[in-house]
Symmetry: C2
Subunit: 259 residues, 2 copies
């Protein structure tokens, strides 16, 4: 339908996040960006999340762990004149492809950078859906920490966990556990437990947006790390977080409570 752009006339490059998997959580902006693209770059599972949207488009897949290759493919396709969407799950800007794309962009010569037309569509990140399905655990100041030490040294992660504990932040743990990384989550629990009550509510959200979604509420002391896998996000309340019926929430009304 659209005229094929020439290399002198680069395509538009969209970096999009499609939410955690539920079609109801894909923003219209992200959907339109995919619809306007001829080429999609992504991990196969994320492209599959698009369902019918991904049809009739050239798919460029690369495995998990090949984020640099996917970013380079997206840059090259756009420079070749293709309208390209680099597809993440969640929010492209939160533990997803936007950061890697800019890391790779920074390696390109200025003349290439200047020719590119880059746009980013915000999306809904896993912690937000976990929170929505559990109540309002992120209702006051919070932080996110990825427990993956593939790119970040464990000392940096540990420093952040100590800071989060001291600052009494609600903590969203991404990449909490995998078969090869099985001790970090328990270590994080110990750091947080030194600063907040043993009965602090914890939310474990697995397979969000899929048929087998499971959102479990437990306590910092009692939750079972073995129930957590790579597709989970774990939210740990702060010292004020409360459970009521089946809900967990973090109040903002500190002043009322303490006066």
């Amino acid at each position: 339908m659209t005229e094929t752009a020439t290399a002198d006339n680069p395509g538009k490059l969209w970096i999009v996040g499609m939410g955690p998997g539920d079609q109801g959580l894909i923003t219209p902006e992200a959907r339109q960006a995919v619809e306007a693209s001829t080429d999609l770059v992504g991990y196969r599972l994320y492209l599959d999340l698009l369902g019918p949207l991904a049809q009739a488009r050239r798919r460029h897949e690369a495995a998990l762990g090949e984020e640099i290759r996917r970013a380079d493919m997206a840059l090259d396709l756009a420079l070749e004149g293709r309208n390209t969407a680099l597809v993440s799950s969640g929010d492209a800007g939160i533990y997803a492809m936007a950061s890697v794309l800019f890391e790779r962009l920074a390696e390109r010569p200025p003349e290439e950078r200047q020719r590119l037309d880059i746009n980013i569509a915000a999306g809904v990140s896993a912690m937000q859906v976990a929170a929505a399905h559990a109540g309002a655990p992120l209702g006051h100041d919070f932080c996110t920490v990825s427990l993956s030490d593939l790119l970040t040294p464990w000392e940096v992660i540990e420093k952040r966990l100590h800071a989060a504990a001291k600052g009494d932040f609600v903590v969203a743990l991404y990449n909490p556990r995998s078969e090869r990384r099985d001790w970090q989550l328990n270590h994080a629990r110990e750091i947080l437990q030194a600063h907040r009550p043993a009965d602090t509510p914890v939310v474990i959200a697995r397979h969000l947006g899929r048929d087998d979604e499971n959102v479990e509420t437990n306590t910092l002391e009692a939750f079972e790390p073995a129930h957590v896998d790579m597709l989970a996000v774990v939210l740990v309340g702060n010292s004020q977080t409360r459970a009521i019926d089946d809900w967990v929430f973090t109040p903002r009304g500190y002043a009322n409570k303490e006066s």
Copy 2:
């Protein structure tokens, strides 16, 4: 169209976030929740964000600062049998109405709580759109801190800022400044600057999703607090955050950089 529920048969209560103002950032789930409701509760400005969606529905407005009253209205309407949407901007779970709703729910007798059918729709929060329009500043571990000391004592806020600084978190500052709260932002800058370079990139995003949206990139040392108002969100990079051309991003590849 739908049968009016009786008080024995309470209405469905949705807590929804409509994003920062752009129709393209309203999730289908949030839109459907509003469409399924007969009654909308919210601050007038947020209901206006809904545009045509808000038409043909009973509007229950309350002023900024009357969050408790809005939460109570939503609970009462649902208990009276009305299908009700409590409308926030952004993500209902992040500095918005979900937390207040549960604070008020906890004050209700068990028989009322058990009759309620509560659902929460996640949305896109201001920091995510600010990040998307600036590059990928939230590309690694980050935290959010509200600088409003209306509900939270300043000592708690200050403790969080020190923790965020020590943990080298990217920091998203919400409610950064108002006419009556004009010194907190500069104080936050001083705390962060003690732990990270003066040229750390800072993103100031104002009036997101509106015609006069403005996303400005500056440095921790040089940014002008007077450019920041109540409708702004401020993102402060961590020690690794970089600027390239007009973009700001925080790389995840610590290991690569340091090896």
